[in-house]
Amino acid sequence: MKNIPIIATREVKRFTTRFRGGSRAIILVILAASLLVSYFVASSGLTMSKGMYTVGVSPTGPAIEDSRFNLIGVDKAEGYAMLTRHSLDAYVDTDTVYGRNDDRSRYAVGALKQYLEKQELNRITEEYDLDQAYPLRIETHYLAANETTAAQGESISSVIGPTPAATPVPVATAAPGGTVTVTRAPVASPAPARSDAAVEAQLAQARNGTQPKFKAEFVSDNEIIIPSLMNPPVPLPQVIIAFLYIVPIFFISVFFTSSFMDEKTNRKLNILLSAPVSAFEIIAGKMLPYLTFALVVIVGVTLVLNGNLLLALAIFIPIVLFIFAVYLMVALFYRTYKDQTFFSMAAITFITGYLVFPALFTGVNNLSYISPLTLAVQMYRGESFGLVEYVFSTAPMYLVFLLGMYVGVRIFNEEYLMGYGPLYKKAGDAIYLAINRKHLFLSIALLSLFLIPAVFMAQLIILALATNIQQYFLMLIALLFCCALVEEIAKSAGIVMLLENRDIGSYKQVVLLSLLSAVGFLIGEKALLYLSLGILSNEVLIQAVTDSGLLIIPLAAHFVFTSIVCVSTKKLGTKWYFLAILVGTLLHTLYNVYNLRLAGVL
């Protein structure tokens, strides 16, 4: 342990020599210029689809201030002519929009519709009083949907109250022309102030871009829906804020990986490995300065943004650890320079996707708690979250870090680090090295258990990729096959590596290990399930379970498939592993298809 500070100091020295002399000035200038430019461009307003549509506006037309539209002021006759010549995508008159009948023009009209509706809403809010501008308020109530629980739920008649002795005056008639005329009785009731507070609250929230909390506590426990304010805003500003933390951490961790590479190239790593320091001390020592730096960044960004420091640390420390664990794997796995570039790109893509994608659904779906960034988004929205949510989203991060450190320490030897073998061989060797050969049975069970987060993440990526297949049935089959493939590999890889290295010999051992692997995998799956139960409502969960077929496969099935793979690998030899995997996966897929048919999904 005492060697960690020594290695850390050495690492800081190595890093600073890199940035010495003339190059330091140049890099600092580039960094400063980059920050300045980014700030300038960001503050001038960044729109993705700048100038996408070319729109003609008549002199009496509305003012359009949206950079998506490239505006040309023309009178009506010229506008028409340009529209038919395809020099314009749409033409806006005083209060009508003209388009052509092709796709491009219809999209342009659609975009105008979206923009103009919003403008109209703003105008109406300003020009009229609240009751005129937002005349429709809908109070929502929830009813128990099945008969056994119906008695406990609300009842419609009690909510409506005594029905006013209705002499329903026909208030609306549809005229033949399709226009609806609404006639109404002279104003009798005073403007109901009951829901006004809810309208005002939602208006304010819509302006600030915060999540409208439909539950306006001061009115009643029931949500009040106002149709034109119904859109929950995308939490984009908060996700971008969360991103301000992630980007510097990416850069820092790139230096962390580079450090290993640098020492591999100039052979200093060999010296380090022959010194009386443990693998853990080397990894921890090298990581320490960069971790410290990442912490400084988190504190700095939080102070600048005026966030809650303790909360920010609690949210971002697991994220930092997770990113460092992934990058540690990059550093230990790569063989050439290009490898490292592509591994890093893959790592960035994967981490960004995993963190940002769920966070975009903050407040919409509880599944968004997969990503800890969701917590950060909530923090910057001034909302609170519970301990269960915190554990659900950060526990996988800590687990991946522990797993990464463990594997890192186990594979940290000269032969492995300098090896140039093909990737699948490197991965196999890493698994083999991670197994403790003194406790084979326990190791195999734990391996399957700890691979669950990796399997889960891989399956999420497969799910995203599968959406590219347009045909639904084909997509489902491909999805099931690939997910089964990942699971079968995860369960059998350790056993096959033991076979390859002749650590086990008898069929009895293979079958027993398959059983243990299946048990480990099942426990992992169930743990995931129970953790999810605390977060998701039952219904969503059941849907997720039947959709993926991931969690309901019982032990027997796991055991059978894994033994098929492992026993046939033993019989045919490890070079036929891929064939065994293929057979196991096919059976697994068929089994899943059968289950889904039973559940009525297919």
Binding site: S34, H141, A172, F342, F361
Partner: protein
């Protein structure tokens, strides 16, 4: 010239052998897929009208209270089945039996504010879908109430196609697919150049009848060639997914110009710093900076790709030709100064 092709050939082979380029292509596929999943997800929650258009969700809504309200007609127009109940208890019974998705109580309108009541099942996911489908007719009815109260609402009858997907596709996914290969090209150039410097193979290489300019030219050409191949691949793949890129030749030419610019820029960086660690860092920072700077141009490179790919009026070959200029300046600078740059000690 022979040396140039030898280097070109060597670089392509090296990348082919390492197969990491496959990983790079998979990464791009993942980014594109994740983005489209995000888009579909976001749209279903934030822009439900498109879902209403695209899916066949058939809702049955129980109505109680004012059966002559124009909301009933609005709901029917949106292909929602409505059933009127005189007695709310009957509606409740049918709801518990699972015959209805939701119940709406419409109070008799006395003018001014209408306070409706909506009864939904307790399940989270089902509710989202029901609200999604109800949103458009409710908005329509809201406007009718406004107009009845003398509020003048304009632009209520526009019927274009929802543009969210279209905009996202052509202003994010297509440019991303066309520019990511350029980013990869830059990284490859830095890797291969700094590898030569750090492993000291550059001296061996230069003792052969190869000039520094040949070597850099070969590496640049190889990386740009790979980028263009990827862009063509994406164009074809998008075509099979029924996404047609207009002006494909001009779009590809623009992508090639950008790839060449990025590759040349990264060659400059690697020539100066000579090690991977600093070069990659400076490259990542600079690419963000230059990308944000280029946003200020009109049309910006990314905007130009978007507009060309959608067949927008007013852009064409001249806009693309304009971008040859910065590339030419950069290339001339590099090839006039290669020796000096390589000799610099940074």
């Amino acid at each position: 010239m022979g040396a140039f092709w030898a280097i070109f050939d060597k670089e392509i082979r090296a990348i082919g052998k390492e197969k990491t380029i496959v990983l790079a292509i998979v990464i791009q596929l993942i980014i594109a897929s994740l983005s489209s999943v995000i888009l579909i997800g976001l749209m279903s929650f934030y822009d439900p009208s498109t879902i209403g258009q695209n899916t066949n969700i058939h809702l049955k809504i129980g109505i109680t209270g004012d059966e002559y309200s124009s909301l009933v007609a609005d709901l029917q127009q949106a292909h929602i089945l409505t059933i009127y109940y005189q007695d709310p208890d009957d509606a409740q019974t049918d709801f518990t039996r699972g015959l209805l998705d939701a119940v709406i109580y419409i109070p008799p309108t006395a003018g001014g504010v209408s306070e409706m009541k909506l009864f939904l099942p307790q399940s989270d996911s089902r509710n989202t879908v029901i609200l999604m489908v109800l949103k458009e007719p409710l908005k329509k009815y809201e406007n009718q109430l406004r107009m009845a109260d003398g509020v003048n609402v304009k632009f209520t009858d526009l019927n274009g196609k929802s543009s969210t997907t279209y905009e996202f596709l052509f202003s994010f996914i297509v440019p991303m697919l066309m520019l990511f290969p350029a980013f990869i090209a830059g990284s490859i150039v830095i890797d291969t150049l700094s590898e030569e410097f750090e492993n000291k193979t550059i001296e061996t290489l230069l003792s052969a009848p190869v000039t520094l300019a040949d070597m850099i030219g070969g590496k640049l050409a190889a990386s740009v060639f790979l980028a263009v191949v990827q862009c063509i691949l994406w164009t074809v793949l998008l075509y099979f997914n029924h996404i047609v890129i207009q002006n494909a030749v001009l779009v590809l030419a623009m992508a090639a110009l950008i790839a060449a610019f990025v590759a040349a820029g990264s060659a400059l960086i690697a020539l100066y710093f000579k090690d991977r660690e600093r070069s990659q860092f400076v490259f990542s920072i600079l690419i963000i900076t230059v990308a944000s700077l280029s946003y200020l141009a009109e049309p910006s490179p990314i905007g130009l790709i978007t507009r060309l790919a959608t067949g927008a009026p007013g852009v064409g070959i001249l806009n693309v030709a304009f971008y040859v200029l910065p590339l030419a300046v950069l290339l001339i600078f590099i090839f006039l100064n290669t020796k000096r740059l390589a000799a610099l000690k940074a």
